[in-house]
Symmetry: C2
Subunit: 178 residues, 2 copies
């Protein structure tokens, strides 16, 4: 398929749709199935103690408990920045001072149609509650050195969040410490 | 959802299935929908001229032409390493000498159930044909500096492939050159 001329929703859940895309100029080709969902946001948030805020939670898609950066979906009409602030506070109990957009990526060019907005948060402080308001998850603070160690052992292995570290490294805000 | 006890295929394409996952202990919760597909492989391949092999192609999911590392699916029973070698040759016309596994990541903990196998290829040389055998794509060779520049401008923006650069940087095989 070289172009997309028709789009048809062929399956729907409350969180995403499966879209069959076709090019009428190449009707011999089967449709291409893409997943349409709202954009993702992820925050690399560094506390005043120079630690990274992370979240541990059970993930049904992979049937395992993962260690990840705070992240979630943009709920239109909120902006990606507002979503990043909201997810950070809901998932960690911390509030961002300033947020810097590191970049806007494609999560999976082969299957997903949405975007991933990557932010760097500084001036991060504990909220009045100081605890996550979202259930079923636990906030973890790690030094950058320890997070790199967990990446190298495979304990920090969410590809989308390693991508955020690449963007941060390119801007001098992360070091892989080789 | 804290555990997964039942899994039901609710939609199927030739490339992936949508699986509804439920926890009978929490029947009040709606099922969780995950995408099940075969594992991904991606190769960071460096030529003898110290250039990175990349691929340009139209991607129906995002309806745009993207710049990416050579990548694809593992076709069982082939191993991830065999898939990496096959995809590299099919997409670039180059053959890997030695392949090193940089790591095995989760592409999207929120929605995808598969894994992403990340390889570093050295001793890369042109095959006898020397051209991609897969149609509709174009091989591009870039210096690491130029690839970093394109990452910073958003022209190299596939998150899963930026993640490969993070793994490579941690092993001293990539520098973001800040």
């Amino acid at each position: 398929m070289r172009r997309v001329h028709t789009r048809q929703t062929v399956f729907e859940t409350p969180w995403f749709e499966v879209i069959a895309k076709s090019d009428p100029d190449h009707q011999e080709e089967p449709p291409y199935y893409a997943i349409q969902t709202s954009d993702y946001v992820t925050v690399l948030a560094i506390t005043e103690a120079s630690e990274v805020l992370l979240v541990q939670q059970f993930r049904p898609a992979v049937e395992a408990t993962t260690l990840e950066l705070p992240s979630g979906h943009v709920d239109p009409p909120e902006t990606p920045e507002a979503a990043a602030r909201r997810e950070l506070e809901e998932e960690t109990g911390f509030i961002a001072g300033s947020l810097e957009l590191l970049g806007c990526l494609i999560p999976d060019t082969g299957r997903l149609s949405n975007r991933l907005w990557c932010f760097y948060a500084s001036g991060v402080r504990r909220s009045e509650n100081g605890v996550p308001t979202e259930g079923g998850l636990q906030c973890v603070c790690l030094s950058p050195l320890e997070l790199n160690r967990r990446m190298n052992t495979g304990a920090f292995d969410h590809a989308l969040h390693l991508a955020v570290l690449s963007l941060a490294a390119a801007k001098g805000k992360w070091s892989f410490g080789v």
